[in-house]
Symmetry: C2
Subunit: 206 residues, 2 copies
């Protein structure tokens, strides 16, 4: 359901110079954002930090919003590629806990994510809106699939709606991440761990 | 723990003209935001919509960020004043469900809230950061208090850490609200209802 990550830049064989240049700028932009976070800024200021002209950024990415989406999407793909896939029998709240732990190391990207989601809720920001809507839909579908599987093998409570469990886990993860960023005493990982226990099938009494 | 809402504007007896004028502008700004949402804009554009000069807005509120905080804080106070307090024995996830239901009618304020929280996560936005940090701390303390009470009377599972339950409920509410705004098929209220069931004390078997 999510839009493919800029097909052309991933195509093999033909690799025109423009595509390579776009990728080069994107690589550099990812480094810049990982360090600086996503504080509101202009395309012009980012161009300077990345070390390209404002015209080049506009040419390759269109707008600040589209650049932010491209930066986040690309860095998420890299994280996914570098991480081992979660075992299929892992409690999905536990998988989110593992992701959250990794995110601790890249607060700049977590800030960028929050900014993109907030932008998506405003009217007239179609790039951010399409990105966030597709991302949530894809994540919900993936997690719901996992929940159904775990329910079928007795790992999770069977009385819970899989789609709703998926939405709830994503919500808990996003929301706890926000609270933790503002106040590091909020135990994001323990919160997700608690949710994992709550949705797990209780051990049968004897 | 939360900062009091602009002491001077709430003082009785002395009611200087400036304070009245500030309140008047705030009232009008609340109407404007409830309608328009919080799409990124300038203080100048808001001044025009509110029908005051840019200089007046700057004089009374300082910056766009401080105006947004004042608008959200005031409209939240009004909602709290107009709503009956939740019964002390109500499941706190159920109370959040009731709030979420009310929020459906004011999507502009939900957008404004998301924008403020995202702004708070960026560096150098102290007004939004202080507001969001204090609001989360206050909400967590209130909910944790309620959770402890309910645990003591047997309404909620006693094995759950009250502070963590509080953080989880707030996170679920914020996160599901975001997903619902982007995709109205996400059942925000059912999600909070599910969390309420999960933290409730299971009926004793017989």
């Amino acid at each position: 359901m999510s839009a493919p990550p800029s097909e052309s830049s991933r195509e093999r064989g033909s690799y025109p110079k423009g595509v390579a240049r776009r990728q080069e700028i994107l690589d550099r932009a990812i480094e810049v954002f990982a360090k600086r976070g996503a504080q509101r800024t202009s395309l012009r200021a980012i161009a300077q930090e990345v070390g390209v002209t404002h015209a080049a950024l506009t040419h390759y990415f269109g707008s600040l919003e589209e650049l932010l989406v491209a930066v986040y999407r690309e860095s998420e793909l890299r994280l996914d590629d570098s991480a081992p896939a979660a075992p299929p029998d892992e409690n999905p709240a536990e998988s989110m806990r593992v992701s959250a732990e990794k995110n601790r190391e890249i607060p700049g990207m977590v800030q960028l994510y929050s900014t993109l989601v907030a932008t998506a809720l405003e009217e007239g920001h179609s790039a951010a809106q399409e990105f966030a809507t597709a991302r949530f839909a894809r994540l919900r579908a993936e997690l719901a699939q996992r929940v159904r599987h775990l329910q079928s093998v007795g790992g999770l409570r069977e009385d819970l709606d899989p789609e709703l469990v998926a939405a709830l886990i994503i919500a808990a993860s996003d929301g706890l991440q926000t609270q933790w960023l503002l106040d590091p005493t909020v135990d994001l990982e323990a919160g997700l761990g608690m949710l994992g226990v709550l949705i797990a099938k209780p051990p049968t009494g004897h």
